[in-house]
């Protein structure tokens, strides 16, 4: 059975495809995304308060390495599919980084199926956001140096401003902030805010997915502009990345749910942090191309087909 939150996503997608006038106010989108990031962080943080942090170092390092390596694998693939250097690098960065909402849907699916997972997994999400973006920027700068030496248009940001924008950008700040608050306050400390941040979580996720369905539907219409390469990457790449993520999860000795989550994170593509960062760092890249792949194709694919697949993978490898 398809998870109820995914049905909301499909409703949004449908509304967009039939040209409905449904539109969620932008302020609501903003509020919901802040809520989700904080709530996910808090949940992970509460779990962090229960265990020694040093023991988690191998997981953190492995997650960061995974996020960093993915773009280096995808870049040659993008080039082979005739994408320009900047486009291939930008696309690779989107897949190296992660989608928090895809993670949230996967963990909801696990909960519904009664599969336990490491509750501190939000920590993995927080540390996997940035490495893929950094790798993508390195690839872009290297790749464009190969094809031309002209630098007429200066990039809008130095490494310093970029680091600032990624590390203190909304998603990492709220996730890491939530983790920290949860870790400091612990279970007892966060009890008073449970009614806001824990209980209604899934309902809020459903509403957010309705909005994302509308947005993704809009990107889907752009598909014609980019042709087969983007569709091939959008659908073909996530399951392969999930295999890599799952393998890392097994090597780390994670639970079945943990392996499924890491596979999902590896397979997911960022559509919040990465597009903004890449726009500034690699302005030559066609932003619509990466976003169409990440949000128009991969996100719906992971929600409907990918996550059940990755859970099954985890069952076989770690069950």
């Amino acid at each position: 059975m398809i998870d109820v939150v995914v049905l909301f996503f499909l409703l949004g997608l449908f509304a967009r495809l039939v040209g409905s006038d449904l539109r969620l106010p932008e302020a609501l989108y903003e509020t919901l995304s802040i809520y989700l990031l904080l709530a996910i962080g808090l949940k992970g943080g509460i779990e962090l308060s229960r265990q020694p942090l040093a023991a988690l170092a191998p997981q953190v390092l492995a997650c960061m390495a995974l996020g960093f390596v993915i773009p280096f694998v995808l870049y040659p693939l993008g080039r082979a599919l005739k994408l320009a250097a900047a486009d291939a690098a930008s696309l690779a960065a989107h897949y190296g980084s992660v989608s928090v909402v895809t993670y949230a849907v996967a963990s909801a699916a696990l909960a519904r199926q009664g599969i336990a997972h490491e509750e501190h997994a939000a920590l993995w999400v927080a540390v996997m956001e940035a490495p893929g973006i950094v790798a993508g920027i390195l690839l872009a700068r290297w790749g464009m140096r190969q094809v031309s030496t002209d630098s007429t248009a200066a990039p809008a940001g130095s490494w310093g401003t970029l680091a600032h924008d990624v590390l203190f950008g909304k998603s990492v700040l709220l996730l890491a902030g939530g983790l920290l608050i949860g870790a400091v306050a612990g279970e007892a400390g966060t009890k008073p805010i449970e009614a806001v941040f824990v209980t209604p979580f899934k309902g809020v996720l459903a509403l957010f997915l309705l909005e994302l369905g509308l947005v993704a539907g809009g990107r889907l219409a752009e598909l014609r502009r980019f042709g087969a390469a983007v569709a091939v990457i959008g659908i073909g790449v996530p399951p392969l990345l999930a295999l890599a993520g799952g393998a890392v999860g097994v090597a780390l000795g994670l639970s079945t749910g943990g392996v499924a989550l890491l596979a999902t994170l590896a397979a997911s593509a960022s559509y919040i942090a990465a597009p903004t960062a890449m726009r500034i760092a690699v302005p030559q890249a066609n932003a619509a191309l990466s976003i169409t792949a990440a949000l128009g194709i991969t996100f719906p694919f992971n929600l409907v087909v990918g996550i059940p697949l990755y859970i099954e993978l985890a069952r076989r490898w770690a069950g």
Partner: protein, 102 residues
Amino acid sequence: MTLAKHDKTLLVILAEAAIEKALVRDARERGAQGWTVTEVRGAGRSGVREGAWEADRTIELQVICDEAVADAIAAHVLQAYAPNYAVSMTFSRVQVLRPERF
């Protein structure tokens, strides 16, 4: 009673929200004393920008200043951002009451 009015240039820059910070910084460096930013949505040669989520936002940056300052800002934007970002700029003559503020 007729108020004393002074001519100034209103420079309006429509651009992707991603470069808002850079635009504001560059405008200030070139002599803009104040600016107003609003979020907008619309479409153009770069496609439809609905402003529905982070990477899809568009801003309108308004700067009222001397013509020379507006020209300096616009020339820089044209050179630094226009090749790769969705940017459009318009100029209009406006009248202000307290010219030293702009």
